[in-house]
């Protein structure tokens, strides 16, 4: 049953987030490309820099962090309100009285599911962002396909990708555990559940940004 719960949570938390991750990533890549291209015009900076800048910013920062912040809004609020509602309607008490460890039963599968799936979501986001940048850059005439491809592949280091994956694992844990904490320990009624949900999203976002800073300093300097 535990494995089944993890698979169910993977579908609920991960697979259902694919559309929003895809849309955001595509447009994020497109905007970064156009902005970089518009700021590097004039002929002094080679055109392939656009592809290079898109790749670096997407892998190192935008995909893991921005997608994490989006997922906090989508998944975090859902986890917090689900557990909060279960708490105030005594559903968690019902699980406890049956002799089931409610935290393990309800929270653990969510954490495991997203920690496993977040790297896949982020990898997909990286590809879609770079693809979105390619389409926007080429269709607007800001860059040639050759320059973009060259820039994307220019001096690529695998460590950048590993760095991104480390972030995505840590963020996957924060996105699920912090809102779960706020939802699981809520007291009161529907108003308190709503407040817990809002607090969970705000606190998770702040923690993600702070941890992002710490990880960046630890891994890149």
């Amino acid at each position: 049953m535990f494995r089944q719960n993890i698979l169910d949570e993977m579908v609920t938390l991960g697979v259902s987030s694919l559309p929003i991750v895809a849309i955001i990533s595509f447009f994020m890549g497109a905007v970064i490309t156009i902005q970089t291209a518009s700021n590097t015009g004039g002929g002094l900076i080679p055109l392939y820099t656009v592809g290079f800048a898109v790749r670096e910013s997407v892998i190192l920062e935008f995909s893991p962090t921005i997608v994490a912040l989006i997922l906090v809004g989508k998944i975090g609020s859902s986890i917090s309100s689900q557990l909060g509602t279960m708490r105030v309607t005594e559903q968690i008490d019902a699980i406890e009285i049956m002799g089931v460890n409610s935290a393990s039963f309800l929270v653990q599968p969510k954490i495991i599911a997203l920690v496993l799936l977040n790297p896949i979501l982020i990898t997909l986001s990286i590809f879609l962002s770079i693809g979105g940048g390619f389409i926007a850059g080429v269709s607007s005439g800001a860059i040639t396909p050759y320059d973009y491809d060259y820039g994307v592949q220019y001096e690529f280091e695998a460590f950048d990708y590993y760095y991104s994956m480390i972030k995505s694992l840590v963020f996957g844990f924060i996105i699920t555990s912090v809102p779960a904490y706020f939802g699981y320990y809520v007291k009161g009624g529907s108003v308190e559940v709503a407040k817990a949900s809002t607090t969970a999203v705000v606190q998770s976002s702040i923690i993600i940004l702070a941890i992002n800073y710490v990880l960046t300093q630890l891994l890149l300097l």
Partner: protein
């Protein structure tokens, strides 16, 4: 049999239960009655282990719950069925999944055996054709029945019912009371019903404890309760005009 000895509980400086002693007997409908705020819910939570008492012991067939280790507590809880006041049905699961929940977690039964058990439990509480429905598609009485079906799915030795009649019409209340009573006698289990409904008291109260401001003020059976001279209890029983009329007619 569940025995509580010298059970006390306070929240901060405020005492909620004061040195309660009582025995909930096997094969009987044991009722905890009292006004709102008298400590009924707190004593129940102390008995089932959702709240730890400050002092006192809770013996399940001679073994103190609060001295058990985690595994023993988990094992004991599998033999406890609990009907919550609001039902506490898992609202994202169907009726079938609700009743099957504990079986899926704890039993090694095959899918067919679990389905048969679900059918049996739903049949026992006289529910038909609701397996695929979600809790929000059920009436209040049906939710209580599903709650009872879920509570008996693991063949419990102890059944707790927290205000099983709250929010129900008088006819449905009687049906639920009778159902709880039948299950108690049929399976010879220790049933504890928390209520302030006098109809339930007179209908099924084999062994009654009356709580008043955290103290056990009276205990006895439904036969004794109408004869009592205990002031707090008579104030509680005859608070409504309906009961006052009955007393006047009886006199």
């Amino acid at each position: 049999m569940i025995e509580i000895k010298n059970l006390s509980k306070s929240f901060g400086e405020r005492p909620v239960l004061n040195d309660i002693n009582f025995t909930f007997e096997k094969g009987k409908n044991n009722l905890i009655i009292g006004a709102s705020g008298s400590g009924k819910t707190t004593i129940t939570k102390c008995i089932v282990g959702l709240q730890e008492p400050n002092t006192g012991i809770v013996n399940y067939d001679g073994k103190n719950f609060w001295e058990m280790d985690r595994k023993e507590k988990a094992a004991l809880r599998q033999s406890i069925g609990f009907l919550f006041q609001g039902g506490a049905l898992f609202d994202s699961m169907t009726v079938e999944e609700n009743v099957k929940f504990a079986l899926r977690v704890f039993s090694n039964q095959t899918q067919k055996e679990m389905n048969d058990r679900v059918d049996f439990c739903l049949e026992r509480v006289n529910l038909h054709g609701v397996k695929a429905l979600f809790p929000d598609e059920l009436s209040g009485g049906m939710k209580k029945r599903v709650g009872i079906a879920r509570a008996i799915s693991m063949q419990p030795k102890y059944l707790f019912c927290d205000e099983p009649n709250s929010g129900l019409d008088p006819q449905t209340s009687v049906v639920i009371d009778q159902l709880i009573s039948e299950i108690t006698y049929e399976y010879d289990i220790t049933t504890v019903v928390i209520t302030h409904d006098m109809n339930s008291v007179l209908e099924i109260g084999d062994n009654i404890m009356f709580l008043h401001n955290g103290d056990k003020c009276w205990d006895g059976s439904r036969k004794d309760i109408l004869q009592t001279q205990n002031k707090e209890l008579t104030d509680f029983i005859y608070a409504s005009n309906f009961m006052k009329t009955i007393r006047e007619k009886a006199n």
